[in-house]
Symmetry: C2
Subunit: 353 residues, 2 copies
DNA sequence: CTGAAAGCGCTAACAC
DNA sequence: GTGTTAGCGCTTTCAG
């Protein structure tokens, strides 16, 4: 094919093969393979001839063929609910930075919204022989069903922030409870009792926070006010939440019946900010708002958002470290790595009126 | 392997193969292949037996083996300079949404910063037989060197927003010139003459804007003030720009020597906003700032950012449409699709003092 | 040190 | 309708 390929450009798959190189160098394909992989002794002179042939023909081994026999790819698959939530893109950045140092390629699949498609993509990655798999905010359903336990038997797996009680899998977990408790206590200490909880449709971390919210509301003997925006992981949630605020203002007089909002992520918090602004309400004078995640822009909004820092870069880095360790078989037992969270007090909360 | 695989869980690659299915169903592997792909007549009764065997064994065809012979994957590769710039994540969302309708999987590679690694990933995708490739903000170098021309001969390719004068390749281009001109004119009409231009290290779109900037500055006979932050496509650019503002305040008294900033993207504009705020300067009272992209948060900053809308979702959708069309061979000739841009006037600009 | 040959799991002529 | 077989491009015994 060597020369032909120049002529046939435009036709698919005229790629130079190991056979072309072998012919060009006057050796067997075995020898070519050996110099490419540098895993067997080859006479230096032969090696040179092969290397020249490779250069001359611009040969690149077909990774698909390699994978078929080797069953590895040097690729780490990452599955993300939605890249447009800056929380996730930050975690991913952390993952990528670290993994590139280790010479792994990172392939990303985003917009994975439900348990079924999550499974689908996990399987696709497995079938394509990725060397490891990192799933951000895995669906509780897939954890409880044992799906991920099975997966982890076939392939190194790291889960970031999902249902993990009594689950024996690799996890990197940010201690959301802590930050969220701080947030609730902060609000309560500010004198708030009529606190609304704003969450997205379905996610372990929303449930987790909701439970804590309820505990605190029980403690201060206040009724629950739970507001549900649909998908919480796209940028669209901002608009959705904004609209929700307008809607609920019929039932609950914001500023009176609700004096504070506690949101499951910063995007929702921004929606609340906008929604209140639309109603002519001033934050934090009329209502307090606290977010979660501490995505970068939370310190740039007006007012600057009080929120809980999740340390996304660290989360990503830890996930990357853990997957590498697992691939290298350095941790025999599944491991849970914890990352701290911290309430960041800025401008969006004030004493209740 | 069928039953064995249950026993051997934990060992890699004990996956069920087409042969297992064939044996289980008492047919040849060809027949299994035919029912899997549904591309040849198979007696209904045989088909059922095969389907049952597939279900029983939980067989999934090995896509690597399939790719090796078919040379396709149903995957579209997308290459992005940095996912943490919301501009890119929005474009990607647009791409993904559309492509999923067409049943393509989208694999993303992010953090591709220089021409060399851009090439590397393009080649990796090609070698893995992706059905098409979309590159966001491709490096000028790789376009001028003819690299992408070669690529487009091997595989359907769509470039989004890069150097394209006289380049005969598929492009989706947002008419940045228009929006940027509007921005410059707006500033000038507001009476500004001492306008600083803020750009990132290296990108066609920065160069494009810089040229326009220079033209306008020539026209109003003002000297150039060009500020260079390094990488413009990560969230870090905000901090970097913020620092830069502090630095330059020695040479240029901001508010006097510079009365307006024109930034290459919204992230930089935010950095400027922060930087000015640090210096005790009020935007737009003391300085005006205009951004570019109109990422969602630009309407949530304080002050709300005046910026140029790039219509990222549309950009993504058009790129997806074009790649699908190219794969289907519906456009024989490379095509350029243009997307309009528009100045959005908000709060960050005012009449010069 | 080098090569022949048997696969990896699947598709697609080609026969029957 | 169904099966046989020759690959796809590479790695890896096994001989030599």
């Amino acid at each position: 094919m060597g020369v032909l390929s120049i002529v046939f450009l435009g036709v698919k798959n005229l790629a130079v093969t190991i056979e072309d190189v072998a012919r060009e160098a006057g050796v067997s394909i075995t020898t070519v393979s050996r110099v490419v992989n540098d895993n067997y002794p080859v006479k230096i002179e032969t090696r040179q001839r092969v290397e020249e042939a490779i250069k001359r023909l611009n040969y690149r081994p077909n990774p698909i063929a390699v994978s078929l026999v080797r069953k590895t790819t040097n690729i780490i698959g990452v599955i993300v609910p939605g890249i447009s939530n800056m929380y996730f893109s930050d975690v991913v950045s952390g993952i990528e930075k670290y993994l590139k140092e280790y010479d792994y390629d990172v392939f990303l699949v985003s917009e994975v919204k439900d348990a079924k498609s999550e499974k689908k993509y996990v399987n696709k990655f497995i079938d394509r022989f990725v060397d490891g798999l990192i799933v951000l905010d895995p669906k509780t359903e897939n954890i409880l069903s044992g799906f991920y336990s099975d997966v982890s038997k076939r392939i190194p797996l790291v889960l970031v922030n999902g249902y993990n009680e009594g689950i024996d899998l690799n996890f990197v977990i940010s201690i959301q409870e802590k930050g969220f408790c701080e947030a609730m206590e902060y609000l309560i200490n500010l004198g708030h009792k009529k606190i609304a909880f704003v969450r997205g449709e379905k996610s372990y971390s929303y449930d987790l926070k909701e439970n804590i919210y309820k505990e605190y509301m029980n403690k201060i003997k206040s009724p629950y006010i739970i507001i549900n925006t649909d998908d919480g992981n796209t940028i669209e949630v901002v608009k959705n939440t904004e609209n929700k605020i307008a809607e609920i203002n019929d039932r609950y007089r914001i500023g009176r019946d609700i004096t504070a909002f506690c949101a499951c992520n910063d995007l929702m918090a921004f929606g609340i900010l906008n929604g209140c602004s639309n109603l002519g309400l001033s934050v934090p004078k009329d209502v307090s708002v606290v977010g979660f995640d501490n995505i970068m822009i939370s310190e740039m909004s007006n007012p600057k958002l009080t929120t809980v820092d999740q340390n996304m870069k660290t989360l990503g880095k830890k996930a990357a470290e853990l997957i590498v360790k697992t691939i290298k078989n350095e941790n025999k037992k599944p491991q849970k790595v914890f990352v701290d969270t911290l309430l960041i007090k800025r401008e969006s909360c004030a004493l209740v009126k």
